[in-house]
């Protein structure tokens, strides 16, 4: 009987949260898959079932493939570098180096600034001729103006830099919290054993930080799909879609071109990718993580 009461309470406490979760996460996820088989309603013409037509469009849509490739490079560019930098920042800030408090503020500040707002600042940095980067290049080295965001070869890298700048400090906080909870005894023991600092880092610190790395890397993967705010301000996906990312393309398709059926199809691709990455990450880290 006691047991029965626990059931009821469990469900009761859970139900409000589940209601919202199902309404705004699970239901729309399922609905997205269904919508991807329907046409886009226009004016008074309702959506009708069109089978795999949206998927055929998808396969033939070279913008989609380009956006997918862009997103791949965006992920490859942002995930490892931002995690690596975050770890480095945390180690620095956690050391006895002079100026570490100020550095911590500097590293973390981008997290609290809206990406949409700082994009305008980065825009100025990248402006050819009189932007900060060019002033620096010509003032110090006499180099010619460089058009970083007006060139398809460099625009994505320019976007990656902004994303890394934005997220590294946030990840640093997680590493910092983890580092501070590692007992100093470990370091002392390592020193007594005569282990080198490098050995300590590789064999003791990194394994201990593994759960944090897993957590941070999941966040980084999600961010590589989610961080698109700066694209709105800086490039609108251009030139010739060279800086467009999947979520930005979904936005354009749904809310600029009003192709909601096709946008659902694109979202399905995103969901599939996220699932694959999640499963992959889980297996990659599974053996190394001791989660309670």
């Amino acid at each position: 009987m006691m047991h029965r009461r626990e059931w009821v309470y469990g469900w009761l406490f859970l139900s409000p949260a589940l209601l919202f979760l199902f309404t705004f996460t699970h239901y729309p996820a399922v609905k997205t898959v269904i919508s991807s088989f329907y046409s886009t309603p226009k004016g008074r013409r309702p959506a009708k079932f069109i089978g795999s037509e949206n998927y055929q469009t998808l396969i033939q849509d070279d913008v989609f493939w380009q956006v997918l490739v862009n997103n791949f490079w965006f992920a490859v560019g942002t995930i490892p570098i931002s995690i690596g930098l975050a770890l480095l920042m945390a180690l620095w800030v956690n050391s006895k180096l002079k100026g570490r408090t100020l550095s911590r503020v500097a590293f973390f500040a981008p997290t609290v600034l809206p990406l949409i707002a700082v994009a305008n600042i980065w825009m100025f940095f990248y402006t050819p001729g009189f932007g900060l980067i060019d002033q620096f290049r010509s003032g110090l080295f006499g180099l010619p103006a460089i058009n970083l965001i007006g060139n398809p070869d460099t625009v994505l890298a320019a976007m990656i830099v902004v994303a890394i700048w934005k997220e590294a400090g946030f990840f640093m906080i997680f590493y910092l919290a983890a580092l501070q909870s590692i007992p100093p005894v470990l370091k002392e023991a390592a020193d007594v054993e005569g282990a080198s600092s490098f050995y300590y880092l590789r064999r003791i610190l990194l394994p201990l930080l593994m759960p944090t790395t897993l957590f941070v890397s999941i966040n980084a993967v999600i961010n590589s799909f989610r961080l698109v705010d700066h694209i709105f301000v800086m490039t609108e996906g251009g030139p010739d879609n060279a800086s467009s990312l999947l979520l930005y393309y979904i936005y354009e398709t749904a809310f600029k071109y009003w192709q909601t059926g096709y946008a659902a199809t694109l979202t399905v691709v995103m969901l599939v990718l996220l699932s694959i990455l999640a499963i992959g990450q889980f297996f990659l880290f599974d053996r190394k993580v001791h989660y309670q």
Binding site: Y9, P16, R104, M123, A278
Partner: protein, 276 residues
Amino acid sequence: MSATHFRWPGFDTVLNAFAMWFLAFMWALPLLYAIWTAFHPAAYETNFVWNAPLTLDNFAKAWAAAPFARYFLNTFMLVTMILICQFVLCTLAAFAFARFTFPGRGILFALVLLQLLVMPDILIVENYKTIRSLELVDTILAIGLPYFASGFGIFLLRQTFMSVPRELDDAARVEGTSFLGLLWKVYIPLAKPTYLAYGLVSVSHHWNNFLWPLIITNSVETRPVTVGLSVFAAIDAGLEWSVINAATLMTSGPLLIAFLLFQRQFVQSFMRAGIR
């Protein structure tokens, strides 16, 4: 202070310090630039001389050019509403997962964790349709609704609640405390650092959120500062960087100041919350 002091393999401290300062400077540069332009006349946007005249005109211009006061109010209402709802919903759900055994617990928890990955941010098309069918388009409530139940929040609080000693729980139960009383008197007080850490993440996330509010709002009365700023900066006839940067500082100022004041507590709460 018993933090682990880490010595670098093969590098010397001075080099490390310089590297850290350099990176910190690079990281601070955009903000420093924003401050520079915001407090100087437009002519000094690209011209850095130490004796450039200071001015507050840019702030006055930005303030006059768009209803930022209203945007602030909207954002403030939005983050407050989301925070309260997240705290309530996530606490109840986390308590259920941590304290009770019931059929379907495992699978339901997996469904909750799924939201860590499939965030509402991605499901803009279908969520938009849902909000429309609820006739809530262009309301502050609509901006917040998809975020009220947070998988991250539930996960975090469950972790914390599970570390609450069972003896405390039992003692309270013996005294005849109800489950809600137990939650209120025992679990929540012990989870304070988690609430602080999670609250800070939530507030900064929703203060800065852009895409969903952009889609779902149409008017000054509902627009949060991020969308207001993008509308303001979208003027096609040439950017006035100094004014835009003044607006940028205004919109992110409260959050930035709060962070500067509480940054130590912020990191410590993360540590105590066991987010690592």
